[in-house]
Subunit: 347 residues, 2 copies
């Protein structure tokens, strides 16, 4: 158990360090504390906090910086989220105050906005119904044997892909295939659709098209697109800001990580169960990110599912400000999306 004074000191060290990035020494600290003790006393307290693993030194005679455990303690017990600055709130609202035609646009814009506000890297994940249902499938002939396939799910997401139709497929056969899909797959959850695509559907389609694989591949590809392409990343470049000597090779691997949506998904994966979650340093499952901190928050769009927003910054980020900001942002985003759905559901 920590004494009140220890708590005060730990809290002050985290706040000062996340503010100016310099290790905190006993003398500097004593002048900023509301209590009247000498620097020697502070030194003693610091030593015990270090013994407990909450602080550490960067070298034997340096000031103290919080350890991962120290940050964790601070976040869990000492931190109070800042109220979001009204200028930030205004910025968010004015950015959301435009006409968006698609959810993707809103969520993508959110990633950029969030990265701008924090000057970190931001991620946004579209609201996802666990059991999104296939709502419709269309094939639109474009001429020259090309066709656009469009897939709509009941959470409002639209995916499309153009492809070439082999010459041995005649239009009537194609019609029949679409009918099969519309009759038998529309209304099912995407999971069920995938299952059917591996079992009976190829057989049925095979009656009309000689090589159903080619066609079904395209269909499956769009389906996959709609279940994997729901990430947006904003402010990738901000990664360069916080690490004085950006080591090209690590930057490189981080950037490529951000291209791989599956890996990102696994990082953000568990977040859906929590409200606002802070992962610090090696608490993040991905090894590449072990020197960063990740704040994730869910946002809830009522019956249209939940999404995730996240920011990735240095472990020494000002947590209280960031948590306040992320908290406010998700509320705004959720509201904006509710409005969006309201528009398309009710007009």
């Amino acid at each position: 158990m920590l004494t009140d004074r220890e708590l005060l000191i730990l809290k002050a060290i985290v706040q000062i360090y996340t503010d100016d990035g310099q290790p905190v020494g006993s003398k500097a600290l004593v002048s900023k504390l509301p209590i009247h003790v000498s620097s020697a006393t502070i030194r003693n307290e610091m030593a015990t906090l270090e013994e407990m693993g909450l602080l550490k030194k960067t070298h034997s005679s340096s000031g103290r910086v919080p350890s991962i455990k120290g940050y964790r303690y601070y976040v869990d017990h000492l931190l109070k989220p800042d109220k979001v600055q009204s200028s930030d709130l205004r910025k968010i609202r004015s950015s959301f105050n435009q006409q968006f035609q698609e959810i993707d646009d809103i969520v993508a814009e959110s990633a950029d906005m969030l990265s701008q506000l924090t000057s970190y890297t931001a991620f946004t994940v579209k609201p996802e119904l666990k059991d999104a249902k296939l709502e419709g499938f269309r094939l639109v002939p474009l001429g020259n044997h090309r066709v656009m396939a469009i897939l709509v799910t009941d959470n409002g997401s639209v995916q499309n892909r153009t492809f070439k139709v082999p010459k041995n497929v005649n239009p009537e056969a194609l019609e029949s295939v679409i009918r099969i899909i519309n009759d038998q797959l529309v209304g099912l959850t995407l999971g069920e659709v995938f299952k059917r695509l591996e079992t009976d559907i190829p057989i049925q389609v095979g009656k009309y098209i000689e090589t159903p694989e080619g066609f079904l591949d395209v269909f499956e590809e769009i389906l996959k697109k709609s279940s994997t392409e729901h990430f947006f990343v904003g402010g990738r470049l901000n990664l360069l800001n916080f690490s004085k000597h950006p080591d090209p090779s690590s930057i490189r691997s981080l950037y490529s990580l951000m291209g791989r949506s599956t890996d990102l998904a696994s990082v953000l994966g568990g977040s859906l169960d929590h409200n606002i979650q802070v992962q610090i340093g090696n608490e993040i499952t991905n090894n590449l990110l072990k020197n960063y901190s990740l704040i994730t928050a869910t946002y809830d769009v009522d019956q249209h599912g939940k999404g995730v927003i996240a920011i990735l910054g240095p472990t020494s980020m000002p947590y209280s400000r960031m948590i306040g900001l992320v908290g406010a942002f998700r509320t705004e985003l959720a509201q904006r999306l509710i409005d969006y759905y309201h528009d398309i559901d009710d007009i």
Copy 2:
């Protein structure tokens, strides 16, 4: 006029410097030259080359490096493009040897490939018919008052956009509007289409829809998309490789330049008239790129127009190898696209 020996020396300096990046000294150089002279002689020659502005020193007692003018002279008079390495050629061909459904995929893949082969940053521009014609326009209802607009041009490019239809628009009116567009605009060049959109079309459409602006804006937006979204950038990160101390702020502005397609367009703009063009340092119109060199090349897809590929690297790039590579690449790309068009035109 330069003497033979001066030419030999200039050529050697450019080649050695672009190879290992170290300024070239007289002693080092004399050992690599096929002629038997002393280092003092080389020094004299170097001094005269420097007087002519073809060489420069990094500091008063350093070896020589080529100046912009020196590179220019080398590229214009001394360089012979390398034959492309067969391993590179194999790599290109195997990458092109997959099924592509859209031109965009081919051209985007090209940018990545080219950046990988060169380890520089690469740009590709889709083949563009000066007078691409509007070939078709479709509206596909998606349910919930949402509609996908699809636009096809006769160079094979497909653009689409979903949007919400105001509730006061009834389906029959929409039908009529599509008919107007299909009857009156299909077959025209995009330039003409834009003109008509500003003159008589709004009046005609106004007969069926109360506020034609909203609808026509969407139409115009897709049109613009199809005439501006034809750039692809590969290997952005490679910019980090060649500049030992990547200054974050300059990297930042370079990256944002690559997001602004209009600015990029102006950089690559003049290239269409040339075959293979090399721009060195401040010859590039954009100021941000004045420490880089840009090699651009057109590729010709017969009646389907011309495109551009380009690589951006340090001024000290090995020009002969790069020019050879870019030359070979564009041939392969052109052939691949010709095959693609052949497929969709003739089956």
